[in-house]
Amino acid sequence: MLPEAEIRLGRERPRPRRLLQRVNIGDTSFNALLWIFAGAVLLIAGVIVFSLWATARPAFKAVSIPSFIAGQNWDPVQESFGALPFIFGTLVTSGIALVVTVPVAVGLAIFLVEMAPSRLRPVVSFPLELLAAIPSVVYGLWGIFVLVPWLRDSTEPLLSVTLGFLPLFRGPPLGFGYLAGGLILSVMILPTIASVSIEVLKAAPESLREAALALGATRWEAVRVAVIPYSRAGIVGAILLGLGRALGETMAVTMVIGNSPEIHASLFAPGYSLPAVIANEFAEATSSMHTAALAALALILFGITLLLNSVARLLIRAVARGPARVAA
């Protein structure tokens, strides 16, 4: 195949002037158009940051940033704004989601790529795509009427009987609370972590597996000593990507977390998360300061997810070239 550069070179041989001009006008304007589109994406990124900052600025003028982040009291009527209960709820629910999902998602990916016959892969990746396509408000509906009653009536009483010596599993089984929020998140981030992990594992060179197997390793040992070390950074990237999703997920969490701006040690207790408080209060914000404070919460959320996503993308990019970047 001829490299494109040589073809372009070939066109620059002397030609009738008018033809050359016409060609150039078309190419130049097309080129310019493409660059405008590229600029548009960068512009959008800039606009997002600026618009958030402009909406949130009054809050940072009135309250210092440390006392905003560390404050525990959220009372819009008294104009007292402390974000800690929301940050706490977001971290706890996302933490639960990771603890539950990571073993399942990575196990699933290992099974599909390393253990199962390759015919099985599309059979499972199709449901995974469906799981990712379900709108979050539908998950929330399912959470309210299926997950929460199940937690309240069977799982939480069981947990408090068996593991009640831990402060995590004490208190009345309400259903609505951190545990429900975390579990629904774990379902929602499963497809992300699993599908990116599958791509990352697929990108590990076949020769690594073959070498391990040829030395007499069992399948699992080949995975453990040859594949996982190679794919580790990519899997961490997949997990961070899932974490980013979990931190920003709004509707499903809003519908099951209980919406109470307090901090509790018990996972059964109702809490609140950053996206949930924005979703519930923004449209009916009582004052311009209230609006600004909520936008400031969004700015915090934006900062965290931006950081996580950048790290995740760099890690995944380093391991898997190609489809893994699109898979999420």
Partner: protein
């Protein structure tokens, strides 16, 4: 037969192997439980409420029988349509840029920004649209909702379009250039046209995702009890209606939430399946 200690060790290793295989296989089954549960419950709880009037009628107040989510369905389609007006040209154009000119430093930067933007929480995008459209206009509007959805659409659409355009064989492009077709005509008439099937797939996926969004609409397009097709007025959407019905204390509204969720799920699944089918056809042809 090998000596006893080695054989014991071997058995232990085989046992570990078997255990891990079973555990990983179990993970697949565990992952399928929520999927089956969600689909089955939405279907079984929602199907009873479906009727012709559910699709065409306006919502009724609590306690009044009948009523539907007609304005929500129309509103969702309207909002997605607005989002497409803004999002499709920019998203596809950026994708084309990334595929055609995206190999340099700037291309990498744009690609990275698009990837990172696709992970920005949708509720944050809602606030951005609020600051951009709602605050200057001093009212909630369909336009604001459309802008929010388009901002969500663009990054993903750009990346998928890029991948689809990159699938076009180099030979096709070279053949056109060798015949003396200018670059811009090659890009538009040969490369883009060949990738059209793939781009339609990308568009359908973007539409299906946008239709399922709730969070960015809560304080942009808000909600509306009536029909609305004016861009500067609040507009109902299926997802916000599901949310409001689900958190209400009324049995009747809960049933409506399930039925509306079924309608939404069917729409999202249908667009997904169609796009998947198109993508599969395309890949088979490319092979």
């Amino acid at each position: 037969m090998s000596s006893a200690p080695i054989s014991k060790r071997y058995i232990a290793r085989r046992a570990v192997n078997l255990t891990m295989t079973l555990l990983c296989g179990a993970a697949v089954l565990i992952a399928l439980i929520p999927l089956i549960s969600v689909f089955w419950l939405v279907l079984s709880n929602g199907i009873a409420g479906l009727s012709w009037s559910f699709f065409t009628a306006l919502p009724t107040p609590v306690g009044e029988p009948g009523g539907g989510v007609g304005n929500g369905i129309v509103g969702t389609l309207y909002l997605v349509g607005l989002a497409c007006l803004i999002g499709l040209p920019v998203g596809i154009g950026t994708g084309l840029f990334l595929a055609e000119r995206g190999d340099g430093q700037i291309g990498n930067a744009v690609r990275f920004v698009a990837e990172v933007l696709s992970g920005v929480p949708s509720i944050v995008i809602g606030i951005v649209a609020y600051g951009l459209v709602v605050m200057p206009m001093h009212r909630f509007s369909a336009l604001a909702g459309g802008v929010a959805l388009s901002l969500l659409m663009i990054p993903t659409l750009a990346r998928t379009t890029e991948e689809m355009v990159r699938l076009v064989p180099r030979a096709l492009r070279e053949a056109a250039l060798a015949l003396g077709v200018p670059q811009w005509k090659t890009s538009l008439r040969v490369v883009l046209r060949t990738a059209l099937g793939g781009i339609v797939t990308a568009i359908l996926l973007a539409i299906s995702r946008a239709a399922g969004e709730t969070a960015p609409l809560l304080f942009t397009s808000l909600n509306n009890q009536y029909w609305n097709l004016q861009p500067d007025q609040p507009t109902a959407s299926l997802t916000v209606q599901i949310f409001n019905y689900a958190i209400s204390p009324y049995e009747d509204w809960h049933r409506k939430a399930w039925s509306a969720a079924l309608v939404l799920l069917l729409f999202v699944m249908l667009t997904n399946l169609v796009s998947r089918f198109l993508a599969r056809n395309r890949l088979q042809r490319a092979r």
